[in-house]
Amino acid sequence: MNEPLNIVILGGGTAGWMAAAGLVSLIPPGRCRVRLVESEEIGIVGVGEATFPEIKNFNDAIGVDEAEMMRATQAAFKLGIEFVDWGFEGSRYIHPFGVHGPANMAHIFHHLWVRARQLGLNSDIEDYSFAAQAARSCRFELPDAHRPAINSAYTYAYHFDAGLYSRYLRGLAEGRGVIRTEGKVQRVAQDPETGDISSLELESGETISGDLFIDCSGFRSLLLGETLGAGWEDWSKWLVCDRALAVPSERDELSPYTRSTAMEAGWRWRIPLQHRTGNGYVFSSHFIDDDEAASSLLRSLETKAVGEPRLLKFQSGRRVVNWKNNCVAVGLASGFLEPLESTSIYLVQIAIMQLIPLLPSKTVDPRLRDEFNRLMDLQYERIRDFLILHYKLTSRDDAEIWRYCAAMEVPDSLTRKIELFRHSGIIERYREGLFTPISWLSVFTGQGLIPESYSPLADATPDEKLVAQMDQFRSDLRDRAEEMLPHDRFIDRYCNAQSAAAVEARP
């Protein structure tokens, strides 16, 4: 048996503790030893409080008890994202975590909808999404995977306090054998020949050596960027926002969705948790200054602010490689995409889950490294294009940022996607990458792009029957959504963070 691989994680934010918990939970101790170095003096970027449904796969894989985790992180459920004033002023649409139409018609449903609209049907695509309807009526129950019914055709994610989530994972990871070292890195020692990182020298004088280093140092990218010099690819010409102001406010309605509202120089998030509501304004410093943005954010709050807005600066883009030498960057050290579609934690998760099966031995096998980098390229680029879509597809001309975005040149791959959807509702599919045709459909139509035509495969049903069927499905969906518990009552029963009795009440 070979000696276990010594893995050193630098940084203890969400990325660091997810990596630590993932590695220690999925790989037995005989194969790897995990150490994590973090400093309490260095702040944690806690922007990503909204997640994507994939997070549940990660939690399940590492053996997280959902209700326990939700209690520990003040978590609430999330069935999608509501976009307000994107596309055009006054628009509202939900990008849901679930199919539109009957689950067995997913490939053709939106073509039927386009056809029905041409016949005079007045409806939005979200009217046929159970997740969207449940979100709109502020209701929630767990999907029942064993019943092939309407209410199995959705998934869900969480809103949680990312700081509490890392703390929760830290407890789990340390309990399973991860060694944590408090300290700041003073020097990174490298092999003079290969350039591989050999150890981290801390201010305390301690030296931490390892075989594989995972850079979770955040924007600074201390190992991958600063030490190994991995280049930066700038995407800010497409994703122009470069600042965020974040401020919590007192709890208000516990809606089971994230809200993203387009603003004069960016957009504002609203993320309801059990104990408070997270708010933030992501904006471009080219179009508004920090003070103006802060007052705009505070004015827009629905409940009283708790504390002062906190400013973050960033640039959209990524390191051209995420794995170089014996160093893999995870999270912000590998790149940044704004939290418009709650992808930050997903990118952390996918990096960890793609690293584990390709985990090297003491010497890095370049074949495994190249494959990891190829997979991460696909993830980043496909999310990037999907985010750009939100900005590009706008008819707003009331602010400079929207005029800029509507006119900007976007990657050719995205232009074609838009044109094919406009032409006849065609949505390209891909294997690797987070966003499925459901997501593309939601944003296309939600931002006002209705296909001019539809697939002739949708012509099979006679006209009258089609409209009647669409109406019937919509009303069945609403009825079923109304049968569910209000979201806040479900939370009280399932995972109330305040109530010790919640354990007994679990269904």
Binding site: L359, R367, S424
Partner: protein, 503 residues
């Protein structure tokens, strides 16, 4: 108001032209006016179509009763393909038509457990863990099972002429206009075909022209920018010698694919004969010399005529230009390995249905179709090229050359990652899935150097239990499957007239 695509002409011969027509007719009914121009057939009595399981999906959508394939096309269901003599002294292996990847717990593929087991002394061949391969070995027919990880399916050997006639009957019985003819001229206006002119002088206009004419590419070949790109570098065989022998009894549950010095010879079981295809490199042996050797290579006497045809694996630079779209071998050609021939037409047809154009003046679907078809073709080519690349027949010039030629980069990545870690990087538009590639690579002797570290989280005891349980499950499952004879005798023989449906 834009003008919709209303007039569609399909030009071609043999099964692909009727498959295309049937798909368009059954998908769009009277929404389009469909006409078929049937070119002279290339089929001879010895021809065979060897098919993959997904073809059943097309038949279901068309409403074509499977029983007709058995009664009319003399089909024998086969659950796999057996490869022998590809690696010198190496053992033959069967690649089963499994439905879903074996599950080794969580998202680990079963192969990961096998790789570790092998490092610890497990000597059971990988094919024993494939329900399709074991069904094939036992001459049995896969049946549905609740357990997804144990599902397998079957393809067919079909008499090509009978299958073509059946499809034609099905299409023309539905009222689709068709005419036997040859093309005298294609009238073009830039990137668009305005009309085709038949040898008898008839001029046919349409909004969309579908070229299902095979390698001749009678329409797409005349369009600008459709030069043919050869893949002979990786798929070296350029000739096929086709013949028949007597039916093998009892029916084997697999097609037999045996390599020899200058190519490979395939035996495809049918009910009334065995189709024999010798695929070879004409630089290495003449058809005449091969014919002399054929009874020995095939291991059975040749009955009746033998015919030679040309093969040219490769792809057109563009497969949809203006209002002309290529389906089947007019778009790309492959080696006859892995039952690819009809699958080429099938996959093109499926994508054409999803991307069926809606507007007669502009076809923005073309670029996407072209990309998808190219990716599909490249992935299929790589699957076939792996057979050649991984051969271990030393001192045969053809096979030495195949090993020495650098693999396409897309394939090399698969080989590399698999060799390193037993994982298969799958790309967009893959016909073959992870478990197909695994059994291909392992069968040809590519054994991964290491495995997914998560496997070590399974205790040795649980690991051995999981391996044994799967073996046992498969033995039980296969034992419950009917033999091919039992299966065929249970299949009712409907009258051919039944396919004539309401027009």
């Amino acid at each position: 108001m834009k003008r919709r695509v209303e007039q569609v002409v399909v030009v071609g011969a043999d099964a692909p032209v009727w498959m295309t027509a049937a798909a368009i007719y059954s998908s769009f009914g009277r929404g389009v006016r469909l006409r078929v121009v049937e070119l002279p057939s290339h089929l001879r009595p010895v021809d065979v179509y060897s098919t993959l399981p997904p073809l059943a999906g097309l038949h279901n959508r068309l409403g074509l009763d499977e029983a007709l394939l058995f009664s009319v096309c003399k089909a024998v269901p086969v659950a796999g393909q057996r490869f022998s003599n590809w690696s010198g002294a190496g053992a033959p292996f069967i690649r089963g038509h499994d439905d879903s990847p074996p599950v080794g717990g969580g998202d680990l593929s079963f192969s990961q457990l096998w790789i570790k087991g092998r490092q610890q002394g497990l000597r059971t061949a990988f094919e024993n863990f494939s329900p399709g391969a074991m069904a094939a070995k036992a001459g049995r027919v896969p049946i549905p099972t609740e357990r997804a990880e144990l599902r397998s399916a079957y393809g067919y050997g079909l008499d090509a002429a009978a299958y073509t006639a059946l499809l034609k009957h099905f299409v023309t019985g539905g009222g689709v206009e068709s005419k036997s003819a040859t093309i005298a001229d294609v009238e073009r206006d830039g990137d668009f075909i305005s009309a085709i002119v038949l040898a008898d002088g008839e001029r046919i206009e349409a909004d969309l022209f579908v070229d299902a004419s095979g390698p001749q590419a009678v329409l797409i070949g005349r369009m600008p920018g459709t030069e043919f790109e050869s893949w002979r570098e990786w798929l070296p065989c350029d000739r096929m010698l086709l013949a028949s022998g007597n039916a093998l009894r009892p029916y084997p549950g697999f097609s037999q694919i045996s390599a020899f010095g200058q190519g490979w010879v395939g035996l495809f079981p049918l009910q009334d004969r065995t189709a024999i295809a010798a695929v070879f490199d004409s630089r290495e042996i003449s058809a005449k010399d091969l014919l002399d050797k054929l009874p020995v290579l095939a291991g059975l006497p040749i009955a009746g005529e033998a015919v030679v045809s040309n093969l040219a694996p490769g792809i057109r630079q563009r497969t949809w230009v203006g209002n002309c779209v290529a389906v089947g071998e007019s778009a790309f050609s492959l080696d006859p390995l892995d039952a690819a021939q009809l699958h080429i037409a099938h996959t093109c047809i499926s994508h054409l249905m999803t991307l069926f154009p809606v507007e007669a003046a502009a076809f923005p679907e073309a670029e996407l179709y072209d990309e998808i078809i190219r990716r599909t073709a490249v992935n299929l080519r790589d699957f076939q090229a792996a057979h050649y690349k991984l051969n271990r027949r030393f001192d045969d010039p053809l096979w030495d050359r195949c090993r020495d030629t650098a693999a396409p980069q897309t394939l090399q990545r698969k080989l590399d990652i698999f060799a390193a870690r037993g994982r298969i990087p799958l790309y967009d538009d893959e016909t073959f899935q992870e478990h197909d590639w695994e059994s291909l690579f392992i069968g040809h002797g590519l054994i991964p150097q290491s495995y997914d570290p998560r496997v070590d989280a399974v205790s040795d005891q649980d690991q051995i239990a999981a391996v044994n349980r799967r073996l046992q499950d498969i033995v039980e499952l296969v034992g419950a499957m009917p033999t091919i004879d039992q299966f065929l005798s249970c299949s009712p023989a409907p009258e051919l007239t039944e396919v004539a449906h309401d027009a």
